[in-house]
Amino acid sequence: MDSIPTEVLGHILSHLDKPNLLNASVTCTKWQTLLDSDLPQPLELHITLDSTGCNAAVCYRTDYDTSITICQCHEHHSDQNIFLRELFRIFGDRLRSLTIEDSLYNMEHEERVTDLSMNIILRECGQNLEEFHLSLVDLRSVRPWTLAQFGKFHHLTTISFEDCKFPAGMSESLLLRILTPSFHSLESITFTNNELISDKFGVAIAKKCHRLEHFVLNSCRRITAVTAVAFCEALVQQRISPTVNLYLQNTAFDPLKLQQFLLNPLLSCGPCWIAQGIVVNIGFDRNALLLENKVERSL
């Protein structure tokens, strides 16, 4: 293999399209150096965790979007972590969006994303991420301090933890702290089906995230009307985004409670909200509550 002239190798590799180039470049250092300048620089990466294939490979790509599938089984673990690391090194700080989707649940024995993989992902993915999505990821094997690396992102606009499970040591305050650097830029926050999230989190977000437009807390059972009230209060104060869409399906949210709170004379913004039940059509009809501020803003 060493005897192959660079010229010949270069010619061969020039046949390959972008995803194949990525795969080829992580085979060994010689190929990597050779391909360095030709490698694509995607802006979005989609990582699927799946143990049915056990092949780390870049499988699909457009100019902006790349997706890879890796497994978490013991045998391939370190190899795939290296693969991930190399990929991130190639992508560098250009990456804007990262999605991690967990398909490990189908396996007979329970498998979770490991601390090491998560650590590599968070450490190597560059600091300029604007969107971070986690879907169905079971983070119970991941140390809270690994997740704390979220704190390195300063420009996140969208963060979503859909049906994710957090590790035992994780607390709301830690979660808030690691998101703090991005509070000024966050526009969309999603935490669904989460046991950890309570009004404490909701209230803090309401107070701090002035650009927020979408706050999805569906199936977070510890969320009550307090979060909505906090947004009412916050909206009266300085806000850049004029409306906030709160999604509170399947939570402990109670409209009557909200009404009580809003009529409470102790409410710092004063009784300036009018509630109105409306029906929003999102493919099917859904009851919604439109809160209008006597001044001008609505929720």
Binding site: V26, T27, A56, I82
Partner: protein, 178 residues
């Protein structure tokens, strides 16, 4: 024939004459000039020597061994009258356009699948564009759609990355292992 030359050695009769080519394992091949000059390297040698060429003394090829040259000759025989091929790029994606191979060529590569690297290098040295481009494409085809691990396995590439990286990953992760 594509190789009409100025100094007059390229006549049809000459193409029918034999030339002896010696590979680096001292094997002699008696080849028709018309076939041998599919290789630009050999063609240049023949032209440089011009009329003084002593066809029986042999042209030495220090970089090619007998078994591979045999295979190359097979290709040359088939392609002695083939027009020069051009490498094209897709104007939109700027990715290379792949050549379509004839049945004979597909069969040829199937036969010598395990010698693709040697063929590519020999074709590169002998300057046989058709063989060179096609072999490279064939190799690229084998890389395509494979995972890094499979590529390593197939070409016997040593995974130097992994060892080095493994060590580094272990080093940089010390903080979270206690």
């Amino acid at each position: 024939m594509a190789t009409e030359s100025a100094n007059g050695v390229s006549s049809p009769e000459l193409n029918e004459r034999d030339v002896v080519i010696t590979t680096n394992d001292n094997r002699n091949f008696t080849v028709k000039i018309g076939v041998a000059r599919v290789s630009k390297t050999i063609n240049n040698m023949i032209q440089d020597l011009g009329e003084s060429l002593d066809l029986s003394s042999g042209i030495p090829l220090p970089n090619v061994d007998g078994p591979i040259f045999e295979k190359v000759l097979e290709w040359c025989e088939e392609h002695k009258n083939a027009p020069e091929i051009k490498v094209e790029q897709d104007p939109h994606t700027r990715e290379r356009k792949w050549f379509t191979m004839t049945e004979w060529e597909e069969e040829y590569f199937r036969k010598f699948l395990s010698h693709l690297w040697d063929l590519a290098m020999a074709a590169n040295y002998l300057e046989i564009p058709s063989l060179y481009y096609y072999t490279c494409q064939k190799l690229a085809e084998r890389i395509k759609g494979r995972t890094p691990e499979q590529i390593r396995e197939m070409f016997g590439i040593e995974d130097d990355l992994t060892e080095e990286e493994k060590a580094e990953i272990r080093r940089t992760n010390v903080w979270c292992t206690y």
